[in-house]
Structure formats: structure tokens, C-alpha cells
């Protein structure tokens, strides 16, 4: 990368920082939310949730998965986008109305048990860690492409992992990145802008979506492999019809029949158990607003992933044609196909925008990584500091001690993620998965969807859920998921191994069944009716809305009222 590119990257990041600092939000109280107008408030919250949710896996990983396996990679986009539908249907409004800050808090108070809280913390930490690793991997890969060299003694990839994780961990720990609604929203807008710019450039460059898909589907899908003969292209085997070639536009390039469903369901179920996303719901002023926020998130996610899928397709088409004329691209490709699929979007950016284009996409990727890592580390710090340290290790902790406990846990979690990212470096993993970043994120979704989501939904919708049942359910879901991962890493035969790395299809029903069976044998908490009133009643919502209305009427005067009425 030359000076111009580096300069652009620096400028983009500086602009983000300035916007974040200067266009300071009003506060985030309920009244402010209403002052901003319901719709603005809901939209801002939705953007912030997107900022937490869209990570390197979405930005680089989805395009990479489509790039490598065509339609089978599109299932990642479908699954990531679909995940918010169950959240909307089952979780958003009751979770907000119950009014606890995190998933362990929620389960702990709902079931009246500290044991549930601690087990939930353990699962949440597992989810956070498995989500952090692919983010670190993603930033390592971006560094590799962008800078190309590492600090003395370590590789470019390792440098990227270490530098990005360390910088963000320090920022988070010392309060430079509070993950406020506004910061996350701006970061998502940057991400979306990068994607929209690239899509516009690609379309303006004469890319025809439908034509490209049919053209790509007309020949077998082949991807680079590295073996004794060096780099060469090897056609993908069709896992749906053994013996046939897989093509871009048809399923089968990456997943067998069962694994197709397993992947989608894993992603669909996982979102409701992602701690950093669920924590964000508590910034909505009411349950109803939380619900409408989710609708916006679904819309934004749809737009984002539709663009990502298109760009994945475009990179397969465009890079193959562009490679022969560009020496820098030939280093990265084998016969016009990228060796590292995660490079698809940055390379596309460089083809259309030169070094500045590359810098814009790289900035997008870094922002995606940063906002997600920040969200995850904050969630981790909150659950260690609040749920474990303040309640169990040192109940009499001062504010200062609690803050330091949070910082220490941030550091520990960040170091663990970086180490795992270095150990699990992409080359060490089999190239059976379409995109290593997207696949690794799937593990986090699998743990969340198998261990947390079933218990979470039961606790919200079934009065009979008990603490013992929840503990048993979470333990079953978590352990069976990890066990299936381990078995899946062994050579157990084609078709089955894909399914084992996306275990929600089996683990979630198992966890649900165990939770229900154990709950039936134990007594639910005595105050369940009272909890039902806060979970499913709207009295609190109505009270909040009324107070906000009164406050606004009293402070803003007739002009504001007229405006509100005209606005609907």
C-alpha cells in the first residue's frame, strides 16, 4: 500500500473519530428518545444494533463465502439476516420490559437463582470468546493485505491480530470506547457507506448481476488449493450429487443436504443469544420501541446482506477478468481466483478505486471489527465485573475496584482471543469451509443458539421454567455443542462433519427437552405471576410514554406539540 492509500485510510478513520466526537448525541434517556422523535430514536437504536452485529464476518466473511461457494455461501447471508426474526417474535419486547441489563442478569432475576446467573455468565463468555476470535482473524487478514508486512520477528497476520486486539482492548478498558448508541450507529453508517460505494462503483463499471451468475454457473466451480504441486485450481465436488461438479449458482459446493438446513437454523437461532446484541435492547425506552427497532434492523440487515451477496458474486466475476492485467493481483490469485477469499472486497475496492478504494474498504472492515470487538469486550467486562466480581468475589467492592475488575477481564478476554486467533490461523484449518471468518462466527452462533436461546425463550414464554431446568438446559446445550465440534473436527465422513460444526439442529432441541423435563420436576419461582406482569404487561411502557409526553409538553411548549402531532 502506498502513501496515498495510507493517507486515505488515516483520513477516513480521522473523519469517523471527529464525527463520533463532535456530532455528540443528546443523552440517551427516555425523554431524549422521545424528544428526538419516536422514529429517529428507533432508527438510531437500530443502527447501533447493526453496528454491534455486523462484524468482519458480515463485511468480509459473507462476500468471501459467496465468492468461494456461490449459493451455499449465500446461506450465511440468509442466516445472519434471518436471525432477527425470532428475536423480534420472541425476545425483543419482553426482554426490554423486564428491564435487566444483560442476559445473565435477566435469567438470574427471572429464575431467582445465582447459579443460573453464573452458568449463564460462563456460556456468555464462551460465546463472546468464539465471536472475538474470528474478528481478530479478520483484522489479521486485512492487515496482511493492507500493510503486507509485520513487526520485526512476527508475520503480517500475527501483527494485525495483536495490534488490532491490543488497541481496541486498551481503548475499551480506559473508556475511550463506551459503545454508546451514537458511536455504534456512526460506525455502522460508515460500514454501509463503504458497501454502497463499492456496489455503486461495480454497477457503474458495467457489472450485470444476472449475467454474471449465469456466466459463472456455466462452468464448474474451482478454487485454489496448495499441495505438493504448489498452488493450483481444483474443482469443488458437488456434495448434493456425488460425482457431479458444483457450480456457482446451484447449491452443493460446500454443504451436503442436511448441512444446508443445519447452517441456516444455527444462524437463525444464534442471534437471540448473542450477548452484545441483546444488551443493546435495553437502550430502547419501551418494549414496543424495541420491537419496532428490530423491524428496522431486519430491513437494514436485508439491504446489507443483499449488497454483500451481490459484491461476492461481482468479485468472482470481476477479479477473474481483471487479474491478467494487474501484476499486484496476480500475486494474490491463482488463475484469476483469490487464494484468501476474505480479500475479495478489498481487492474489488482496489480494482475500482485504486489505493483509495482499498483504503475505504479496509476502513470499513476495521470499523466492522472495531465496533463488534468493542461491543463484545464491553459485554464481557460487564458480565465479569457486574455478575461475577461484584456479586460473588467481592460483594463489598468499591466503584473503583469494580472498574478495575472490568478492565482486567477486558484484558484477559482480549489476550485469550488473540492467542486463539494466532493458534487457529487460517492456514492451519482445512479449507473445507467457504470462508474461515464466516465459519468461525458460526461457532459462536452455535453455542449461543444451542445453550442460551432455548433457555432464554422458555424463560420468557413458559411459566414453568425453573432454575434447575435452566442450568440443565444451558449445560446440555453448551456441552453437546462443544462435543459435536470436537467430533466434527475428527474425520467422521463427508456430509456428517459439516453438520457437526453447525450443531444447533441437534443441540437446541436437546437443550429444550432437558430444560423442560428438569423444570417439570422442580418448582418454579414463587413470584412468577408478578414477573409475568413486568415481562408481558405494558403498564411500564405506558407509564414511560406518558411521563415522556408530559415532560415534553411541559418543557418544549406548544410548538413542539404541534410538530409532534403533524408528524404523526
Amino acid at each position: 500500500m502506498n502513501a496515498a492509500g495510507a493517507g486515505t485510510l488515516a483520513i477516513v478513520i480521522a473523519i469517523i473519530a471527529v464525527i463520533t466526537l463532535l456530532v455528540r448525541p443528546r443523552g440517551t434517556s427516555t425523554v431524549d428518545f422521545y424528544l428526538a422523535g419516536q422514529r429517529v430514536g428507533v432508527a438510531t437504536n437500530a443502527l447501533a444494533i447493526c453496528g454491534d452485529y455486523f462484524s468482519a464476518a458480515s463485511f468480509l466473511g459473507v462476500a468471501a463465502a459467496v465468492y468461494v461457494s456461490g449459493l451455499d455461501g449465500v446461506w450465511y447471508a440468509v442466516g445472519f439476516a434471518a436471525g432477527f426474526v425470532p428475536v423480534l417474535l420472541f425476545v425483543a419486547a419482553p426482554l426490554r420490559r423486564f428491564g435487566e441489563f444483560s442476559i445473565p442478569d435477566f435469567l438470574g432475576r427471572r429464575l431467582g437463582s445465582e447459579r443460573v446467573r453464573l452458568v449463564a455468565v460462563a456460556v456468555v463468555q464462551l460465546v463472546i470468546l468464539s465471536y472475538l476470535v474470528p474478528q481478530a482473524v479478520g483484522s489479521g487478514m486485512t492487515w496482511q493485505l493492507l500493510v503486507g508486512r509485520g513487526l520485526p520477528g512476527i508475520s503480517a497476520y500475527a501483527t494485525g491480530v495483536v495490534v488490532s486486539t491490543a488497541v481496541i482492548a486498551v481503548l475499551v478498558a480506559f473508556g475511550g470506547m463506551r459503545g454508546t448508541t451514537w458511536t455504534q450507529a456512526v460506525q455502522f453508517l460508515v460500514l454501509l457507506a463503504a458497501l454502497v460505494w463499492l456496489a455503486g462503483a461495480v454497477l457503474a463499471g458495467g457489472f450485470g448481476y444476472a449475467g454474471a451468475v449465469s456466466h459463472l454457473s456455466s462452468e464448474p466451480l474451482a478454487n485454489p488449493v496448495h499441495d505438493s504441486a504448489g498452488w493450483h485450481l481444483q474443482p469443488e465436488e458437488n456434495r448434493l450429487e456425488p460425482g457431479a461438479d458444483a457450480t456457482f449458482g446451484e447449491p452443493g459446493a460446500a454443504y451436503g443436504p442436511l448441512a444446508q438446513f443445519a447452517l441456516i437454523l444455527t444462524l437463525v437461532m444464534g442471534t437471540a443469544g448473542l450477548p452484545h446484541v441483546m444488551n443493546r435492547y435495553f437502550t430502547s425506552p419501551t418494549g414496543t420501541a424495541a420491537r419496532m427497532t428490530t423491524v428496522w434492523v431486519i430491513g437494514l440487515a436485508g439491504l446489507f446482506y443483499a449488497l454483500a451477496v451481490m459484491l461476492g458474486t461481482a468479485s468472482r466475476d470481476v477479479i477473474a477478468r481483471a487479474a491478467p492485467d494487474r501484476p499486484w493481483l496476480q500475486e494474490l490469485t491463482v488463475d484469476g481466483v483469490l487464494r484468501v477469499p476474505e480479500h475479495a472486497l478489498p481487492v474489488l475496492g482496489r480494482i475500482y478505486g485504486g489505493d483509495q478504494g482499498l483504503a475505504v474498504i479496509a476502513a470499513g472492515a476495521l470499523v466492522a471489527v472495531m465496533s463488534t470487538i468493542a461491543g463484545l469486550l464491553l459485554a464481557a467486562a460487564a458480565s465479569w465485573g457486574h455478575d461475577v466480581y461484584e456479586r460473588h468475589i467481592n460483594p463489598g467492592a468499591t466503584q473503583k475496584q469494580a472498574v478495575w475488575a472490568g478492565r482486567a477481564s477486558t484484558a484477559v478476554v482480549a489476550v485469550a482471543a488473540a492467542v486463539l486467533a494466532l493458534v487457529l490461523r487460517p492456514e492451519n484449518l482445512s479449507s473445507t469451509v467457504p470462508s474461515i471468518v464466516a465459519a468461525m462466527v458460526t461457532w459462536a452462533f452455535a453455542v449461543a443458539g444451542s445453550a442460551l436461546t432455548p433457555v432464554f425463550i422458555l424463560a420468557i414464554w413458559w411459566r414453568g421454567t425453573t432454575a434447575a431446568g435452566a442450568v440443565a438446559g444451558m449445560a446440555t446445550g453448551g456441552l453437546s455443542t462443544v462435543a459435536m465440534f470436537v467430533v466434527g473436527a475428527l474425520p467422521v465422513g463427508p456430509g456428517l462433519d459439516d453438520m457437526l460444526v453447525t450443531p444447533t439442529l441437534v443441540a437446541a432441541p436437546l437443550a429444550t427437552a432437558v430444560c423442560v423435563l428438569v423444570s417439570r420436576r422442580t418448582a418454579p419461582p414463587p413470584d412468577v405471576e408478578q414477573q409475568w406482569l413486568t415481562l408481558h404487561g405494558t403498564a411500564g411502557d405506558r407509564q414511560a410514554e406518558r411521563l415522556a409526553r408530559l415532560t415534553i409538553a411541559n418543557t418544549a411548549g406548544p410548538r413542539r406539540r404541534g410538530g409532534r402531532r403533524a408528524g404523526g
Binding site: W75, L88, T538, A539, R542
Partner: protein, 110 residues
């Protein structure tokens, strides 16, 4: 009497009623959602036409569905479920007070 002085209040029976109705809304929408989400890969496994036919321009119905159709469907299902749930809540809980126009505001967010 000034109703603004009185805290909002729901009785357990009313909350239970709204809960049941909302549960029904959530489950029906979830079943629809699940049918479509698993239906797309299922069709590509079972129906040759789904992957082989070409919509004008060149995409197969299956690819078009996965590339844009499903996201639009998610939005429609989400919007339908959210507005229906909000309307149910505003009708089944609370009552004769200005809160009723709360439903109108959520209404025009769609």
C-alpha cells in the same frame, strides 16, 4: 380525578390474556418464517426447476430468492408481526386513556 396521577396498572388476568394472544401471533409468524426459510433450500434439493429455470436476465428462482427475495420476506414478516403485536397490546392492555394514541404512532412507522 386526574388519571395522570395514577400509576398504570394491569391485572394478572389481562396480562395473561395478552400473553396468550401474543404467543399465538409469534408462533404463527414463526412457523410461516420457518417454512419459507427452510423451504428455499428444500426446493433447491427437490425441484429441479427451482435451480435450472432462468428468470429473465439469467438468475434462477432459487438464487434470486436467496439473493434478495428472502430479505424482503423477512422484513414483511417482521413488520406484520410487530404491528400486529403492537395493535394487540394496545387493545388488550390499558384502556380508556391517552395511551390509545400510542398505537397510532407505532402504526405509521411501517
Amino acid at each position: 380525578m386526574d388519571p395522570d396521577d395514577v400509576d398504570e396498572h394491569d391485572t394478572p388476568a389481562e396480562v395473561d390474556a395478552a400473553f396468550r394472544t401474543l404467543r399465538r401471533v409469534a408462533i404463527t409468524h414463526f412457523l410461516l418464517f420457518l417454512a419459507v426459510v427452510t423451504g428455499v433450500p428444500a426446493l433447491s434439493l427437490t425441484l429441479g426447476w427451482w435451480s435450472d429455470a432462468r428468470i429473465e436476465g439469467g438468475l434462477s428462482p432459487g438464487f434470486a430468492m436467496a439473493a434478495f427475495g428472502l430479505y424482503a420476506f423477512f422484513l414483511v414478516v417482521g413488520l406484520a408481526a410487530a404491528t400486529l403485536s403492537n395493535a394487540v397490546e394496545s387493545r388488550m392492555l390499558g384502556g380508556d386513556h391517552p395511551g390509545a394514541d400510542g398505537a397510532d404512532r407505532h402504526e405509521d412507522q411501517q
